[in-house]
């Protein structure tokens, strides 16, 4: 118990979290601090390349072990199931329209890569090892989450014609291609490759993450400011109850397949986090009548900070406790 608290406080005073808080504060105070779109996109390319590459190198070093297959199945299962749970929970907890609920549900099936990266950083800082392939699982969850959300969308709009090009688009979404591509490059060049480019993707990583989280804080803060009308207290509650529900489901799943404490914490974080990269664009196309500020404000303005500040230490502690790590 004390450990959780210590971890949570330790987490809170890290430059990463404080950078997010700075961005949040600046946006809410209506400062004109802003990060150019191109820079934010450049940073996210860097982060995804680095995390994918390092995941590949780590799998190359330690082997995939016996849990890769089961983990993949678990990830895909979670990605299918979580949007349905999210939809049900929203219909109960909030007064969102079915369309808005369906559009939002998709976000909760896939993974917020930044949340994943933040959790991986905390694990690393605390010397907790995790399976190297977890980042590949995260990439694999995008597609089923979108399929699940599209199915929900089709039910809600009573459409039978599903836009087939949409799924193809989403599978070739830049973030997924980059993550998996970098993973494969890391896997095939191994430690030699990391020696070559480690000076870029290794040591400076956390500093870059700070700048990215500064921007995420700005975005989340602006979202909260302009989207606050769109969300009732029920919706805000959902944005915090849902990640804990997902994390619980993921914890059970991880224990069944026997992941390490670190891997369990990462699977919980992946389940608990809500994507705002590939899924939002897919949902805009599939459900244009949904109000995009609802889902983005929830994912970015409520669930993202919740995970960053409270969720991650909680999931790590729970994973350690339950797996005896």
């Amino acid at each position: 118990m004390e450990d959780i608290l210590a971890l949570a406080i330790d987490n809170l005073v890290s430059p990463i979290i404080l950078s997010f808080v700075l961005g949040l504060f600046a946006a809410i105070a209506r400062s004109d601090l802003s990060m150019p779109e191109a820079i934010a996109k450049g940073i996210s390319i860097y982060l995804m390349f680095a995390i994918g590459f390092k995941g590949g190198v780590s799998v190359g070093d330690h082997g995939i072990g016996s849990t890769l297959g089961p983990s993949l199945v678990a990830g895909v299962f979670l990605a299918f199931a979580l949007p349905l749970i999210a939809y049900g929970l929203m219909r109960v907890m909030t007064r969102l329209s079915p369309t808005d609920a369906a559009a939002t549900a998709g976000h909760y099936g896939s993974v917020s890569i930044v949340t994943f990266v933040a959790a991986a950083s905390v694990l690393e800082a605390n010397g907790v090892a995790a399976e190297g392939f977890m980042i590949a699982i995260a990439a694999a969850m995008e597609a089923p989450a979108i399929i699940s959300a599209l199915w929900l969308a089709a039910r809600v709009t009573k459409q039978t014609r599903v836009d087939t090009t949409l799924l193809r688009d989403m599978l070739l979404n830049g973030s997924i291609v980059l993550l998996i591509g970098a993973f494969l490059i890391g896997l095939s060049t191994g430690q030699d490759g990391l020696d070559e480019i480690g000076a870029l993707i290794g040591a400076p990583f956390k500093g870059v993450l700070c700048l990215f989280l500064l921007d995420m804080g700005l975005i989340a803060g602006r979202g909260l400011r302009s989207g606050k009308g769109a969300l009732g207290p029920g919706a805000v509650g959902f944005g915090m109850v849902m990640p804990m529900t997902s994390a619980a489901v993921a914890l059970a799943t991880a224990m069944i397949i026997g992941l390490s404490p670190g891997g369990t914490a990462l699977l919980m974080t992946m389940a608990a986090s809500a994507s705002y990269i590939a899924v939002p664009a897919a949902m805009r196309v599939a459900l244009p009548q949904a109000n995009p500020s609802v889902s983005l404000t929830l994912a970015l303005g409520v669930t993202f900070p919740f995970n960053l500040i409270f969720g991650i230490p909680l999931y790590i502690a729970a994973a350690a406790w339950m797996t005896g790590g």
Binding site: E37, I219, S226, G227, P280, A281, R284, P288, P292, S293
Partner: protein, 103 residues
């Protein structure tokens, strides 16, 4: 200087739909258009801004398409059927073009 009348169609549309719009334009036989980046705006779904984007997934673009008047209807009907529900705004204005042989 010789000019010729034409129509200037301006479509402000969400970026994820850009490729679909491009394809639809091509199918309707429209191969000339220009895409301008959009930095922010406001509409029924509230204000948004590219720097620190919130309520739009991936921003918007403005597509400008200059065509002969007689091709306007085809353009609008064929192409915009696809994107109708996503259209921010479609506006059409009269203009004169130089180098008429291009149209």
């Amino acid at each position: 200087m010789q000019t010729q009348s034409a129509k200037r169609v301006e479509v402000i549309i969400e970026a994820p739909m850009e490729r679909r719009l491009r394809n639809a334009l091509e199918e309707a036989g429209v191969t000339g258009y220009t895409i301008l980046p959009v930095q922010g705006g406001s509409g029924r779904s509230g204000p948004w801004s590219g720097e620190g984007q919130v309520s739009r997934a991936g921003g918007m673009v403005a597509v400008i398409c200059i065509i002969r008047p007689e091709r306007l209807d085809r353009l609008i009907e064929t192409a915009f059927a696809v994107v109708e529900r996503h259209i921010g705004v479609v506006s059409v204005a009269d203009c004169e073009v130089l180098s008429a042989e291009r149209f």
